[in-house]
Amino acid sequence: MTPARPHRWGRALLNIGAAACLLLGASLLPPDTSLNDRKASGVLKLCVPPSYPPLVTGKPDEPGYDIELARAIAGKLELRLLVNVLPSMGQDFNPRNWSLTRAQCDLVGGGVADTAQTRSFMQTLATGAETGWVIIGKSGAQLSKGDAVAVLPGTSGLDRIALSNWVRRAGLTARLAATPADLERLLTSSEVAAAITERYVAAQLSEGFSVGWLDPESFPVFPMAFGLWKGDQTLMRAVRQALHQLEREGMVSQLQDHYGVSRLGPG
């Protein structure tokens, strides 16, 4: 009589299972205090530039897509949204000079593109809006060597170096525009054959211009995002979860329709 044979893997599986459970349990620990800090203060702070239509409009009754979305997210987290309008944002293309600090902002919105450059400083949560270089007036193929183009790089973190290389390769002369109004003036004055700028800058122009993505093969279209500080993992998770919930509830697409977030060209 041989005694019953224990299962060969019985003990091994038990040990591995115990190890896995331990790790699984540990993975549920919160890695930081960011969410708890916000809950304690009751406030979620959003930093935006004064104007970045349609994400930030500056109008009190229709404040913009990012602001309304952030407000809905704050609502889900049972926090009050505090909007910090920072004029420094968007005035300079070096984000260092925006002087955004952790103390001022929990979320950064109103023109943050989800690019590798942005991710070097913040972690991002896509909001459903998209940006990229657009060309106004003519399509890229219609331009010929020697044409002048007006360029307004904008502030959302798109790759300017790639753009200037592209302009040089195409044999175009770039005329820098300082503001959207400047860009529009150049366009209407016919000093330039076309204008290149970022998608949502184009949205601020008057009606009547034809707008198209610039050379989609060279320039990817980036999702727009909320920027969160690196390391604020618990807050990030909570915000992400709230956003997903809003998406399921249809709130996000409703806001997108209202602000024309997915419409290319002047809105």
Binding site: M1, T2, P3, A4, R5, P6, R8
Partner: protein
């Protein structure tokens, strides 16, 4: 091949050196199939080296060896398939169960599942370990381990079984039981068994005994013939003090030193023995007559006792060290 068809093991002129030390010096021997063959010699005589050569772990520096007709250097795989080995030190995996150790062996020897199963059960039954089939080997006693190793060595039905000091560190009862298994196997399966040992009493029943010392074969025959040829009665005495020992050594030339203190002299001649005793009676603290045994054969051939006194102690230490070392 010069091997006779019925020879299980043929060793011709094998020499093995470890550095400057010669472990085997021009050794030749033949073991017929189905025989029980014992290699007898003190520790360090070269027995284990010879086993290593025969089971293809050590290439001979010179000479050749064949097991079951396969040369150990040229056809090692074929040679390995026909042998089973029980090493001097345990080579079981003590974190596995008895069954798992045997299963491992069966798989490594390429045995198919069904055959593995029946053979493992039979092997465990043979060594009476069925009750501990699924126990982890670490909890086994020395005797149980040894029995399991014998079961394992027999699992793939080898034609030749090598046992290197199979009974070291075991109690007398276990030793006897192990010899019983081996005897049964030899009779039932025609197995050739080659054993090394330094326990004299274990080779008395062997078909053939080969006495080996310092890497050389010094005698080989049946136990009876060896005793007849070389055996004589010996008188061993323990002198009271160093002075007495010196006096005996000076006056009786045939006396040999035995270990540190004891002395031995041939006791065939009664008159000489009586004379010796009457002369030194008062200066001896111990007197013993040794009948002709294989031990005395060894003494006659080498002038030394097979097993010096410290030997048993060393075995015990070794066994203890092994137990400690294996956690």
């Amino acid at each position: 091949m010069n091997a006779q068809p019925d020879a299980a093991i043929v060793v011709s002129n094998v020499t093995v050196s470890y550095g400057a030390k010669r472990a085997l010096d021009d050794v030749s021997l033949t073991v017929p199939a189905g025989a029980s063959f014992a290699l007898l010699g003190p520790n360090g005589a070269g027995k284990t080296t010879l086993i290593s050569v025969l089971c293809t772990l050590r290439r001979p520096d010179r000479g050749s060896a064949a097991v079951a007709g396969a040369d150990v250097v040229r056809m090692p795989t074929q040679a390995r398939r026909s042998i089973g080995v029980v090493f001097q030190d345990s080579s079981l995996d003590d974190r596995l169960s008895a069954w798992e150790n045997l299963e491992f062996h069966g798989l490594v020897y390429g045995m198919p599942k069904k055959r593995r199963r029946t053979m493992i059960e039979a092997a465990l039954a043979l060594v009476e370990l069925e009750e501990w089939t699924h126990d982890i080997v670490r909890s086994f006693s020395g005797g149980m381990r040894r029995r399991l190793e014998i079961a394992r060595a027999l699992l793939h039905e080898p034609r030749i079984l090598f046992l290197d000091e199979p009974t070291v560190g075991l109690d007398a009862q276990t030793r006897q039981r192990i010899w019983q298994y081996l005897e049964t196997l030899r009779r039932e399966r025609g197995l050739t068994v080659l054993t090394t040992t330094h326990y004299i009493e274990e080779v008395e029943d062997a078909d053939s005994v080969c006495i080996i010392d310092q890497g050389r074969i010094i005698a080989q025959d049946t136990p009876a013939a060896l005793k007849e040829r070389f055996g004589q009665r010996w008188l061993t005495v323990l002198p009271q003090d160093q002075e007495a020992a010196d006096a005996i050594l000076a006056s009786v030339p045939q006396v040999r030193r035995l270990g540190a203190q004891r002395l031995a002299l041939p006791a065939e001649d009664e008159a000489a023995t009586d004379a010796f005793l009457s002369t030194f009676r008062d200066r001896l603290s111990e007197v013993r007559f040794q009948p002709p045994t294989l031990e005395s054969v060894f003494l006659s051939l080498t002038g030394r006792e097979l097993r010096d006194r410290a030997d048993g102690q060393r075995d015990a230490e070794k066994a203890a060290g092994r137990r400690g070392g294996q956690r």
